[in-house]
Amino acid sequence: MARGRVPLAVNMRCRCAGRAEVPVFVARGLGLGCATAELRSVGGVRVVDSPRHATVLLAAGEFPGRMGEALDRVHDQLPHPRGVVWWRPPHAAAVPPALHDAAVAYEPTRVADVVRTVHRRCVEDQATTADVAPDRPPNDFAGRGSNGQGGDGMMGGTPWGRPMAMTADDRDGLQLDRLAVTFGPFTPAFPPGLFADVRLQGEIVQAITFAPPDADADAEVGWAAARSLPFSGERHLLHVLSDIAWLGGLPAAARRAARLAGSLRQGTTSPSAGELGRVRQQFRRSGFLRQWTGIGHLDGSGDVARRVAVMLDPSAAPVGDPLSIRDMEWSAIGRALIGMDWSDALMTIASLDLAGNWSGASISALRRL
């Protein structure tokens, strides 16, 4: 529709919408696990938890293999009008279909500007990206079978290509539907690229199998870029604290930690004890640590509250890096999550900081303050 024929009220509405804080869903790929926290520190942009709430999809990093397919599905979930921005690492090779028409930004300082520009173009000009995947079930309907398959009252099997939940004993000995769901790779609490096949009864985890990303590639890509920046250890921990605060219902603390990390990006001085103290104070006074005491206990690293307390105050950790989880096996983590509420499981995973291969380097950096 030509702009001159658009009613004035509609045009004003679109222009007003174009000036709103941009709702962005961040799909973190390999190499840019800090993307969500980075964006929280920027004004004019609002990081949302569901792609359904966003007008812009920010794809940050690389998306090899299954991650590219998942990105396509996430892209199609954004409502129209929608736009895509790719925060592209310089060495990125594969270009998933969802990113073919994406606006590209290479520098973190430019990402927010590009996001805002794309948003205004989508909303004011009604420009949008087309669906990548066809909107139909993975399996076609093959007719009714001799054993009632495909009919009314069918139980079990994979109708329309999706496993149907069947009942099983729960922890109280009752029969409850057990649902098989795949989470990831862009679940905010997960490290980028992690898939988890989960069996839930209600929201209780009954079984979980992780498919982690290529750990060496992620570490190399992520840390090579991060180490070139000043205060990389401090910034990484602040990003992790920002993500944990957001997950735990502390948006203000999340933004404060993210803003502090952002101020270090080009800085020449370490964060002051006062600034860090305010982040610690918000965590402590909010009751966060009390909430999570006794939850997510893993041998060698304590519970969620202890892991977060050490992130907040590394001087509380014994010397010698006892809290490194680099050698922890995925199967051990999975076993620890069985029987937990799903939200407790997410916080446990987030507190392990699996994306950053959290090590004593970050802790000792903050110890100097």
Binding site: A20, R52, F288
Partner: protein, 311 residues
């Protein structure tokens, strides 16, 4: 007119709708302001127009449709929640003469509103036929049912002293002393009830960030806007009810009663919003435990105090 009210019935929707609309705007602005202050950010005039810009954005966005949703319930849930907010507000007096429906059983009516609000939130999570909304709905029901009991005992406490279930009588009874002084446990418990029923931070059990938005995870555009508006409207209704039941309602010197009621309502909304930005989300399992082991006995104690004061 219904009961002792002076508002013509035909104008009631207009009055109630206006009060709720203003209240929802106040909630939106207050939440943004509180969050920026708590995050150490700066304030500017954009916080006043941002809610309106978000409304405009919602009207531009497509509404998402999941696979095989319950379309009727998806449409019914936000309408029901907004309707319940209006229904609850209709029995709360804004001043000595301004009340839409001054019914003899206003406290019971309010209890029914709270009960049905739980149903509306559950329906909102059921409708999309998706995992995370359904988890949000079920865990909200667990917490909501626990919190409902608190509400009943706390509100019966104020009715006992007023010797009436009429909310205007409860306000009139506070002419010499507010119930927040008489029954000090009542208002803090009512704040917990308000945050729990409306699923507001730190009790955003239904729509939390840990569930990608919970019952709203699959919602976009106008349906999402209507749901958020309905929740905020219910929070406004709770603030008004709390002001009437515990903060003396229209009583106050110098300015008209309606102005005092507005001041107290805004103050209570500020408390709700501040708690949401200072306190971490309460884990659902822990909240249920607290409700039954700590808060419910406190509600009994509050009722006992009310009973003793009435002797």
């Amino acid at each position: 007119m219904i009961g002792n009210s002076t508002i013509p019935v035909w104008s009631a929707p207009l009055w109630v709708g206006s009060v709720l609309a203003v209240g929802v705007y106040v909630v939106a602005v207050a939440d943004t302001v509180a969050q920026r202050i708590a995050a150490g950010g700066t304030l500017d005039a954009k916080v006043l127009v941002e809610p309106l810009r978000r409304v405009a954005l919602a009207t531009v966005q497509q509404r998402s449709v999941t696979e095989r949703p319950d379309a009727l319930l998806a449409a019914l849930a936000p309408a029901a929640l907004a309707g319940l907010a209006a229904a609850g507000l209709s029995v709360v007096p804004l001043s000595e003469s301004w009340i839409v429906a001054d019914i003899p059983s206003g406290i019971v009516w309010w209890g029914a509103v709270e009960s049905l609000a739980i149903v509306a939130v559950f329906l909102h999570g059921w409708a999309p036929n998706s995992v995370q909304p359904l988890i949000g709905a079920y865990r909200y029901v667990a917490d909501g049912l626990s919190v409902l009991l608190l509400s009943m005992f706390v509100l019966i406490g104020v009715a006992v002293h007023a010797q009436s279930l009429r909310i205007s009588a409860v306000v009139a009874d506070q002419h010499d002393l507010w119930n927040v002084i008489r029954q000090p446990l009542g208002l803090p418990l009512f704040v917990v009830v308000a945050l729990g029923i409306t699923s507001s931070r730190p009790l955003d059990i239904a729509d939390g960030t840990d569930l990608a938005g919970g019952t709203t995870a699959e919602t976009s555009g106008m349906p999402l806007l209507l749901w958020n508006v309905a929740r905020a409207a219910l929070l406004v209704a709770f603030a008004m009810m709390g002001s009437a039941a515990f903060l003396g309602g229209w009583w106050g010197p110098l300015v008209p009663g309606a102005v005092w009621m507005a001041i107290k309502t805004v103050a209570l909304l500020a408390v709700f919003v501040a708690l949401g930005n200072v306190v971490a989300r309460v884990r659902p399992e822990r909240f249920v435990t607290w409700c039954w082991i700590v808060l419910l006995p406190l509600a009994f104690a509050d009722l006992a105090i009310a009973g003793l004061e009435s002797l």
